[in-house]
């Protein structure tokens, strides 16, 4: 790394934005330089300067999902988005919100809560994630399926490209089909094409009441059957999960297979739903502690290996069994078909076996976190339309300036 190239970056933004590089290591790889820009124009300027200098930039927010994807091929410049944390526009009566992408979800929820509203997402590991990271990783929690995915709540976004351009798509109204939904392409793209600097969302009224019930069952099969029955019971539910026995224990519940359901809505709807749950599962009772928080943290653990399978609802229990058999804690969400596995370590062969299991059902397996070695040996995402992704990369980031290698060789 020549000092001259780094100086081009330094000239692009005010000197007070530079940070000590050693605080930004990823997979034990340290960047040559780090910045914490104050606004979107500085993000764009840095990206452009990196692009011109042939350096690889890695944007980061809450640094909670750095182990998602393949290890970086190169890492020269860290761009922290913490300085972009303003609420740009919030119109409570319209249920719409526009924020800068560096704001953290918990700060956002705090603002919304004052007006009885929230952004209805529960990503791993908790609410200490940046909005940019939330979008770039597109990770959901137990609410998914009962509630929309983050990308379905996203009304529009502004994205800084390696060309230095700031580009918008979508808008700030709740319904809009003007032009290509590029904000959807950037959602889940792990920063392959640009850095999200602003996002507009539709938000929701907070439920008046929430209540979590846990129903222990004798077997996982029984838990799966009960969960499907509850899914089809028309309940005011916001989450409905099947927990393997080990997971139930880690969530602070009993030590057997368990169906965990969160009811949310008007008090009358929650009361009636509770009755219906108890009719179907007489042993169901209010769950102590904060089991959902514990499950989110397990899902978002970056020290362990974490996998996510997507399977049909009717295969959730079988998938949990298969993931347990590979030595994992396992639980799954019926409405989204997401099954999470968590183990201290998992070898590539086990992951490929589970991937084959999910693929047979029309589903998939994604490695959510794992060692650098594991994410080198195994494709974290599985098969996809690599040619189209390469083609998009070539148009949006032809020099491979952003997050090089995180998707695949060169992307």
């Amino acid at each position: 790394m020549t000092a001259a190239r780094l100086d081009t970056l330094r000239r692009a933004v005010p000197s007070d934005t530079e940070r000590a590089a050693h605080g930004f290591a990823i997979d034990a790889l340290e960047p040559a330089i780090a910045f914490s820009p104050n606004d979107r124009a500085e993000v764009a300027a840095l990206l452009h300067a990196a692009d011109e200098a042939g350096l690889v930039a890695v944007p980061q927010g809450g640094r909670t999902a750095l182990h998602l994807g393949r290890p970086l091929q190169r890492y020269d410049v860290a761009i922290e988005t913490r300085g972009l944390a303003r609420v740009v526009e919030y119109v409570p009566d319209d249920l719409t919100l526009t924020v800068e992408a560096g704001i953290h979800l918990d700060a956002l929820q705090q603002t919304l809560r004052e007006h009885g509203q929230y952004l209805p997402v529960d990503p791993p590991p908790d609410d200490h994630v940046s909005i940019g990271g939330l979008l770039a990783t597109a990770r959901s929690g137990a609410w998914r399926g009962h509630l929309p995915a983050t990308r379905d709540l996203l009304l529009g976004a502004v994205v800084a490209l390696p060309s230095g351009e700031l580009t918008a798509s979508g808008g700030r109204v709740v319904k809009n089909v003007s032009g290509y939904d590029l904000h959807r392409m950037h959602t889940g793209a792990l920063g392959a094409f640009g850095v999200i600097v602003e996002a507009s969302f539709k938000v929701a009224p907070l439920p008046a009441v929430t209540r979590t019930l846990a129903a222990p069952t004798a077997t996982l099969v029984e838990a799966g059957t009960l969960a499907l029955r509850l899914w089809n019971a028309g309940l005011a539910a916001r989450a409905l999960s099947v927990l393997g026995p080990e997971t139930a224990e880690r969530a602070g519940l009993g030590s057997g297979p368990t169906v965990l359901i969160e009811l949310a809505g008007l008090d009358v709807s929650v009361d009636r739903s509770s009755e219906l749950v108890r009719e179907a599962a007489p042993r169901a009772d209010e769950a102590p502690g904060a089991p959902w928080d514990r499950l989110r943290r397990l899902h978002g653990d970056t020290v362990a290996t974490v996998i996510r399978l997507g399977v049909p609802a009717t295969s959730v229990a079988a998938a949990i069994e298969a993931v347990r058999a590979a030595g994992c804690l396992a639980w799954g969400n019926v409405a989204s078909g997401a099954v999470i596995g968590h183990a201290p370590d998992l070898d590539g062969a086990a992951i490929e076996r589970l991937r084959a299991f999910a693929t047979e059902q029309g589903g998939f397996l994604q490695v959510e976190a794992g060692s650098r070695a594991l994410r080198t040996a195994v494709d974290p995402f599985g098969p996809g339309e690599a040619d189209l992704v390469r083609s998009l990369k070539a148009r949006f980031d032809p020099r491979g300036t952003l997050n090089r290698g995180r998707w695949m060789e060169g992307v």
Binding site: V91, D93, D94, R184, P312
Partner: protein
């Protein structure tokens, strides 16, 4: 500027889909020169394929002969998306109309693109399921068309647009490759190419099969009709309902002009002297909807509703909805032509923008009726006019432009569910910067489809495309007929 196709191209098409499924005689082609808009252009040929492989072969032939390819469903599009403005071959997907699979237990359906929306709903209803997109054209529009336009409908308010309910797609790309985007489970890993494809109006690829996400039909539904003396009061009620924290599953407005057109035909019991009505639906558990209905009624009364009726039986509900669904079509019976607009504003800006719409229509001297998705802030002014009067068509288009401008000025969008197509290309520059549009162009280039699939749609400019809507329309505006 239609291209002249070589006879060898027609032969190639015949090899691709079979001779009976290629149309090239002028009298056959006229049925494919328009959709539900004002724009018209003749294709050079039409193919009616049955499989993805046949479509791939058509696309390869089009590449070889450098001919544009324009996909088409039922032709109910409201933005000129299916009009082959530069000629070429229209790929009509109406023969690909099989429901391949309904996996009720997992709430998934796999369908071909030519399946009629309502036919799908009819197949799902006995299973207690529905596919949420429910545009007013659902009796004839196709699922493929819904996907191409990211269609909405009254129930978009609760469920979101089409893109939220598409899990996976099989797509033929411009190089003739068949690819699979998304999957059968939710939230497939990788770049969300599925999300980019939905709403791309046939410019990035041709959908040949779709895996859809279904929803269960609610246990209980309450449909209400709130009656107001003015559009202003009804608009204020929309904001009051949303502000109150109850999000109905549908929240539709009909103004006096449309009530007076629809009610004599449908007899749904809409009062002819009302300034506007709101058709409001809540659903869920019976206990919950009773409370929600009370909140809705209170918000309506506080905003000046003179009456709120409740439809308690299915036939009553069906009649209320029939008036809503038949509303736009009924305009054809009272006006020689009409122009249906589609714009979006923040819900809190509804009262002022609705006033502006009515003032502008009056200033231009046209009757305007309104029947729209108020809960989403999604306006559909219907401008009635007689195209036989000199200059009327141009003035209607000018008025449409001014109304779109009012939406943009209020912080809104130039289309909520009908798409950009041909009609609104020129307006794209009102909401997007040159850099924004260049980024969209990058995506289109990445799909390798700029000259091949549906040229001159969505993005302004383009080789061989007219400069803007007015110029495109001027070529066809002299034609009589009912313009929607």
């Amino acid at each position: 500027m239609p291209t002249t196709v070589h006879p060898a191209f027609i032969e190639a098409l015949e090899r691709a889909v079979g001779r009976p499924h290629v149309l090239s005689a002028p009298e056959d082609l006229v049925a494919f020169e328009y959709d539900a808009t004002i724009d018209r252009a003749l294709p050079d040929a039409v193919v009616l394929p049955r499989t993805a492989e046949e479509i791939a072969a058509v696309v390869r032939a089009a590449n070889e002969h450098d001919v544009p390819v324009v996909p088409r469903g039922s032709g109910t599009g409201l933005a000129g998306g299916a009009v082959p403005v530069t000629g070429g071959v229209v790929v009509a997907l109406t023969r690909m109309n099989r429901i391949i699979e309904v996996d009720a237990a997992n709430r998934v359906a796999v369908v071909e693109p030519g399946v009629i929306n309502l036919a799908l709903q009819d197949a799902l209803a006995p299973l207690g399921l529905a596919w949420p997109p429910d545009p007013s054209s659902q009796r004839i529009c196709t699922v493929g068309g819904n996907i191409a336009n990211n269609s909405g409908g009254p129930h978009t308010l609760a469920h979101g647009s089409t893109v939220n309910h598409v899990l996976g797609l099989e797509v033929v790309l411009a190089d003739g490759r068949i690819v699979h985007l998304g999957g059968r489970a939710m939230d497939t890993p990788g770049v969300d190419l599925r999300g980019l494809l939905v709403g791309s109006e046939g410019t990035l690829g041709i959908v040949t099969q779709a895996t859809l996400h279904l929803v269960p039909v609610a246990h209980a539904v309450r449909t209400m009709l709130a009656i107001f003396d003015s559009v202003d009061a009804a608009s204020a009620a929309v904001s009051a309902i949303i502000r109150g924290g109850v999000i109905p599953v549908a929240l539709e407005m009909l103004d006096q002009a449309i009530i007076r057109i629809v009610e004599p035909r449908i007899r749904a019991g809409y009062p002819l002297d009302a300034g506007a009505v709101l058709l409001i639906e809540v659903e869920g558990l019976a206990e919950g909807i009773a409370v929600e209905a009370e909140a809705v009624i209170a918000a309506c009364r506080a905003s000046g509703a003179r009456e709120v009726r409740s439809a308690d039986t299915q036939p009553e509900r069906d009649r209320l909805w029939e008036a809503r669904k038949a509303g736009i079509g009924a305009v054809g019976a009272v006006s020689p032509a009409y122009y249906l607009l589609d714009g979006v504003v923040p819900r809190t800006r509804l009262p002022e923008v609705m006033r502006r719409v009515l003032d502008l229509s009056q200033a231009y001297g046209f009757a305007c009726a309104n029947i729209f998705h108020a809960g989403d802030g999604n306006l559909h002014p219907i401008i009635m006019f007689d195209p036989a009067l000199p200059g009327a068509t141009q003035r209607v288009l000018d008025l449409g432009g001014e109304i779109m401008r009012a939406c943009v000025d209020a912080g809104g969008a130039i289309t909520g569910e009908h798409g950009i197509g041909l009609e609104k290309r020129a307006y794209m520059e009102w909401v997007f910067s040159p850099a924004d549009l260049a980024a969209m162009e990058r995506a289109r280039l990445a799909f390798g489809s700029v000259e091949r699939f549906n040229p001159c749609k969505i993005l302004p400019g383009g080789h061989g495309c007219a400069a803007g809507h007015a110029e495109e329309v001027a070529r066809h505006a002299s034609r009589p007929g009912v313009y929607i």
